[in-house]
Amino acid sequence: MRYPDIDKYAWLDSPIHRLEPRIKILSFTVLIFSAVFVGNIPAALLALAVALLILILSRLPVRFVLQRSTPILVFVLPILLLMPLTVPGTPIWSAGPVAFTEEGLSYAVLITIRAVAAIVLVLTLLGTQRIEATLRALSLLRVPGVIIQMLFFTYRYIYVMMDEFLSIWSAMRAKGYTLRPNRYGLSIIGNLVGMLLVKSYERAERVYCGMEARGYRGKPITVAPFSITAADYFACLLLIGIAGGLQVYPLVAL
């Protein structure tokens, strides 16, 4: 179990790092939505190129991006492997009953490029500012207060719970427990989860007392000393322009 250190390169300096968080979130989100909805491979490649360009501008280490992108493999690999074989269409290659179709391949490739472009953009967005700045900016972008507060508190307590989990886990290991996927092994995991829930519940009551002791009444809770500059507006217009371009491009190109 690893700590979620998504913002460990937030201290770097680059044009992307310097963008005002609200502007960055807004324009990147538009760009990401645009990238995942492009309808053909050339447009997708263009989106990917834009994403990579922004990534290079951001100076995030390539290793960080590669490591962080692995979760999408779970979805993308099966698609890349299965679709060309299972989608009916023009075979480009076949051996006996197994046929590799053009339609399947091009759809799989389109999805893969979109997925890669999206994750590159997501990582550039999240990797270039502290996660707190992201959450704070969301609160200024009128995401409802309940959601914002929960994101703040949950984010904070993930770390506390992880430490708690790891201590229970080491204590189990110290008594010779190894996780095997059998009934005994899993029911012990059940106890561990149960213990974690009970401890969290009790902690939650103490946390609430702590908040109440500081006048908490469910109201929004942060100040965000961000200020938007002309350069930020310009970058925002540029990125949203690109996002629009990605949608318009297939129409124009056809």
Partner: protein
């Protein structure tokens, strides 16, 4: 299993967000009517953190290997507000670990959140009939995953015929997880019954001691 960005077509993604927003607004309104939301938020947040961490537990069941989902358990413990907790959990998973994309948080929440709500109702119904709680817990644990798989397959199939094979593969890979979650959730509920029954939606047996 949480879908990544770039896979699903626009209508499905939009539908996901619409359903999620409606359900969030509905459950929040319900909570505000039932009690003090200022009190619920910290509790829900800490519990959401605990579930988040528990769902990072990695279980290798050859040939597949997966993280627990625990949405059945979340439903049983948090009731209607489980939808909100899962939404927060998925958002943070997308932000912190890139488990699942950000454009698909809506649809991913539908996939795990609706089963959680159903599990809550199932647990209530089961406990009223006097079935042993760990057994209902186990059923809810397995049911949570199975319903999630059903919804996932549905989403993929609606998204296009191309996804048929992929959907089948994912469904197959999840069956062992459903069994594992049933055992884990049964054990959790058994533990909670003994140690902290307040966490379960059951009437407490008067005062102890």
């Amino acid at each position: 299993m949480h879908i990544s960005d770039g896979v699903l077509p626009m209508p499905v993604i939009v539908a996901g967000w619409v359903i999620t927003i409606i359900l969030l607004a509905g459950t929040l309104r319900w909570a505000a009517k039932k009690g003090d939301i200022a009190r619920e938020i910290p509790k829900l947040s800490v519990m959401a953190g605990a579930f988040f961490v528990a769902s990072l537990i990695h279980i290798d069941i050859p040939p597949s290997s997966a993280h627990l989902i625990l949405n059945g358990l979340v439903g049983v413990v948090l009731g209607p507000l489980s939808y909100l907790a899962l939404f927060i959990g998925l958002t943070l998973q997308a932000l912190l670990f890139q488990h699942g994309g950000i454009t698909v948080i809506g649809i991913n929440t539908v996939n795990v959140g609706i089963p959680a709500l159903i599990c809550y109702l199932a647990f209530l119904a089961g406990s009223k009939r006097g079935i042993p709680l760990p057994a209902i817990g186990g059923v809810c644990g397995g049911l949570g995953v199975l319903l999630t798989v059903v919804l996932l397959v549905l989403v993929l199939v609606v998204s296009g015929d191309q996804f048929f094979a992929v959907a089948g593969l994912l469904a197959g890979a999840h069956l062992p997880i459903a069994v594992a979650e049933a055992i884990v959730t049964g054990a959790v509920v058994g533990y909670l019954v003994r140690v902290k029954p307040e966490l379960l939606p059951i009437p407490l047996k008067g005062e102890k001691k």
